[in-house]
Symmetry: D2
Subunit: 383 residues, 4 copies
């Protein structure tokens, strides 16, 4: 029998927001959630119009997350999970309120705007029995799962070199000065935190490298740069990464790289072979066993391993994209919530990013900024 | 305010079916439909289990399409639209029953298994005021819309040459003899009709070329071949196309082409430039203005025209795929149904494929088979 | 010890010619030839200036090929081989003159301008003991040799489908009307023969498919079209190919396809796998074993077989190109000439195209034109 | 009239050497040189056999470079230029000897094995009126010239970010322990100098970035790593680059990156656009004007600028490769030598890399090693 849908609320994501709509499609795609409540905007009019457009009941459109957490906790049919898709500075207070209200949290990245918040939120999440997912969405691509499994199974051998990059073009000009909403808050320290490019996309690159390789750097050294005159946060970052196990990495993220939209690419090289994956052509992974011809692993083909197959939806050759990968995280969170519902424990195989990943991302931003402010020196990220 | 969702039924698409699940995701992705009824399988047990798994009310899971059409027509909350996703031979009788019941029809391709059925169904659809959509789903890709608009606007000039192909690997062996369900019915003339490869994917290639170029061939000449021993239908077809306007085309579809999953590719060349689009990398279109450097038009970028933008969901660089394109057709049909609901006329700009496209596809299969059976001669497709 | 260089003459290839310079570099690249005589242009002034520019001795620059054949035959240090690089209509008379003079012939393609000439020249070449090479230069690419060997060794199994294409953009406008030399003679039936696009590049595609697959079609059906107003020869051709062994092929060549420079591409599919090779990225071959992940065979890598290695010059990753492939034919001809010199027989393993390939190309043009003039009917090429 | 060929000698490049054969083809390709003398190996037997195989006169095959410099200087028909293609440690003494003998020098890279040698050799070269070329061969690709000209003309605007990389796979195992000749000397500090990967290919990447961008870093910070157990020199290097003008760069070179043969790639981003070029597909440059669709600039097309055209040999679509690019440097050096011969001055437009580039490469290696030995700190390269 079909499991009843999970009752979902949303904080942020009203009119004009980009990522809120993505979360809603992601939640809907596999039919595991029903959106029933929201505090969709900090502007009351916009919140109301957004709620109407989404068909929410009027009494479940709230002026703010605190009211929402209180009211929903008091309803017998209150939300079971909340998606937090506000600008970064609101993540921590909202997440804390919903954890307190006993609601599972699905939080956009980066986890928080400051490292202090991240410490507190991690403590609270650990003390809670609620699920806490952080939507590092690129982890949902089937071939990312395939790559991760390959490395876990030793198919690359000992990891030597990691090269990860995430170039974009869109902030090559002072777009924030035109009032463009996405550019506006992403370049505003008050809402984004101290990291610009590094927080917005550098953390994605960092987390993807960690997710796939299983390695976390002991030390980082960063050049954090702002190229566009008048910009208040960084728009380009180059980072060297040292791993305790001996591997070496380099990370580049940029918002001033014309010709790139979301050019996230991960390459990992071990003593037995290398892999190469690009987010903008996510249905193909290049696997180069040492000394042999490179192989093109197609998503959905017989060459994709079980970890990839588990999150695959459609046959090979019909591309899956960003929304499907995002939806995979939502479905995995749904599995975990159902396990909780039925009193069971969350499946250890569940692989969506959690509070620990969220914390590590904020700690990476903090470390990179400390390194750069120190003139480009080696520092250790908090753990 | 959010429009109420359209009440949708489904014929076929039960357990083990591939395309039924795709239609359901497509219907759900933009939140325009609610699946409320089904005749999901011709096997009663499987129909029931499938209905339960999808959360249908028990009294709206029907043993066959005829019962479903009758019962739903009698309900005040009966379905407004039906998705027909059975093997080909059931398309015509099911579609006729629902048209008679006043239900809008969304029918998978090819429209029917025989040309005679296609004639009758087209007549009936034309006589009805119901919407009749045929899910030639590749027409839903934003850059396919972009390409079509370019040609309509004369950006390629007079069309000279069309090269379209759709190679697959999956039937290189006699897979149908293993009991694989998809291979089984697709190679069975009783369920597929007289065309195998040409009906299953040749029609997609044919329709895409027509959709984008606006041209329909006056004559075709086909080599229709069966390579795999024991196979009952064709698995490879090469077709030459003559257009009244003077253009020349070639079409190749194959199910015995190792290395290809769904390698649909369309190239159109005019006297002012050429375009090149591949379904397996659908977020990029190459546009080559005569004498200039080729340009990579990215889905979602500023270089994409209004027809592409209209069906675009997410920003450039985050790939959209097959499900999104499929969902676009569902959303366009929803727009048309809402227009009908409100007594208005269907927007002329709506571009989803309709009964005419469905007919043309069947007529193409018929013509190709006549040509090949005649030894490879020129014939005219019925109009 | 280094073998002395072979004394080479050239007919055609003076100032303003393209292919003559290519032949000279090809002859020089492996240091196997010394250019010592020429009838470089039918215009005496141009012939003289060209000879001076190339450093030929004044008494070995001839006004025409007949004088050159006579005089060189009479010299003790006369040329051993001649490269014929004139427009097509001069190939046959020049080749005949040099065969009569006992000189080995390296002739550009197509072999002759008419089928009658091809018959006569083939007879004469067979009656002679001189080497007769035809520079179907694409056969010189290492990965083309690799592909040919794979098929000979049965790695693709029984061949089912061949798709070959050669699109170009350059004649999309009536360039010949501007006086452009290359366009002028290539669109002039008096100098090119009856085939335009089909003779110039269609024959390359045809020959490459034959060279790699080992198959020759028993029947062809062609649509031969002239799109550019005022053009005297065809500029686009689409051909279906039937092979006695049961395989089916399609060939497309075009000079009116914007976005393509020399887009020669060959795909061959058998019951055990498929290959895909493109001339504009010649250092990579995609090999798709049935049911497995496609593999990228890099030129010069360990994955390249002995036939590829034999004609490989530099390590993998440093691209070889058109001139290297061309030079390979010259070097293989040099090997054959040396074998003749020393009284031995020509190595059976030598794989450069010969008079038989030249004849087959002209017969293909003839058959395609007959087919098209007959309204698009099946015809058999002469053998 | 044809210019007489330049008399060329060679030091190194005997049997079993790779780069010597490349230099010889490069010298021959455009017919500007005649190889007449050599000290081809430090092993007398091998030197003799190599000279015979190349057809050198016996009295012009020398046991060592010193003897060769002396003897050739004394001949009226002595060499005018020498190509030095030995392991690195021999570059400086050989180059000095030939400069002293009044012979133009074409020296492989890196210029010398130590910074001290580089200082002395640069002084000597500056004091001499002889031409001193360093074969940073990737600078010879037409699209590299095109890119350089674009930046000089301001088409990218102010440069912000440079990403350059050169990954290889070939030393992923301790190949030097098998006796493989290329691996042997390249991992031997006595013959290579203190830099392994960084000297062999890191310098190529460094120089290419400089050549194209026109920028030289004021500071570098390097992680220089040896991954393969027992290896005596580095096999992976990641470097951050700071430019006085404000740009930031990152360089990665690796010999332990499976799946890469010679994956040199350069990306440069300015405030008006970005470019992307890869050595393994050198006939295409991606040019992304800010906010517009990326354009594929094909070598030899009308979209290639005059600097590219000047060194272009064959029409678009017929790929040029490594040997052609290498030959371009030889031809440019020939132009310069001819200018010297005729008493003129060397054309300011001549763009082949010279002693300054050679010095900068050695200084880069020195700086990177100092940085890494210091624990990964910022240092300034010598100028």
């Amino acid at each position: 029998m079909a499991s009843p849908r999970i009752r979902l609320g949303m904080v942020g994501g009203g009119e004009g927001a980009f990522i809120g709509a993505v979360h809603r499609i992601a939640a809907r795609l596999d039919d595991r959630y029903e959106l029933v409540a929201g505090a969709l905007s900090s502007t009351p009019d916009r919140a109301l119009r957004s709620a109407q457009a989404l068909g929410l009941a009027p009494d479940r459109s709230y002026p703010d997350f605190a009211a929402m957490a209180r009211a929903e906790a008091a309803r017998p049919d209150g939300i079971e999970a909340v998606a937090i898709v506000t600008p970064n500075h609101m993540h921590a207070p909202a997440a804390e309120a919903f954890l307190d209200a006993g609601v599972h949290v699905i939080c956009d990245k980066p986890l928080t705007a400051t490292l202090g918040e991240a410490w507190r939120l991690r403590d609270k999440a650990h003390a809670s029995d609620r699920i806490f997912a952080v939507t590092y969405n690129y982890t949902g691509y089937p071939l990312v799962r395939h790559a991760r499994r390959m490395i876990r199974d030793g198919e690359l051998g000992a990891i030597r070199v990691i090269q990860v990059e995430y170039p974009q073009e869109w902030l090559s000009t002072p777009l924030e000065q035109t009032g463009q909403k996405q550019a506006d808050w992403r370049t505003d320290p008050a809402r984004s935190g101290a990291g610009g490019c590094i927080g917005d996309i550098g953390t994605h690159a960092f987390q993807l490298a960690h997710f796939v390789s299983g390695l976390a750097p002991s030390h980082v050294l960063a050049e954090v740069t702002t190229f566009v005159p008048g910009r208040r946060l960084d728009d380009n970052v180059q980072v060297l990464l040292r791993y305790a196990e001996g591997a070496r990495g380099a990370l580049w993220a940029s918002q001033v790289a014309p010709g790139n939209d979301n050019g996230l690419r991960l390459r990992v090289f071990g003593d037995k072979g290398g892999i190469d994956w690009r987010q903008d052509e996510p249905n193909r992974l290049t696997w180069s066993p040492l000394g042999e011809a490179p192989r093109l692993i197609g998503r959905g083909t017989a060459a994709m391993n079980a970890d990839g197959q588990r999150v695959n939806r459609i046959p090979a050759g019909h591309p899956e994209g960003y929304l499907e990968a995002f939806a995979t995280l939502y479905s995995e969170v749904a599995d975990a919530i159902l396990a909780k519902r039925s009193g069971g424990s969350v499946d250890a195989a569940v692989t969506f990013p959690t509070i620990g990943d969220g914390f590590a991302g904020v700690a990476f931003v903090d470390a990179a900024l400390r390194s750069s402010e120190g003139g480009g020196v080696w520092v250790s990220p908090d753990r």
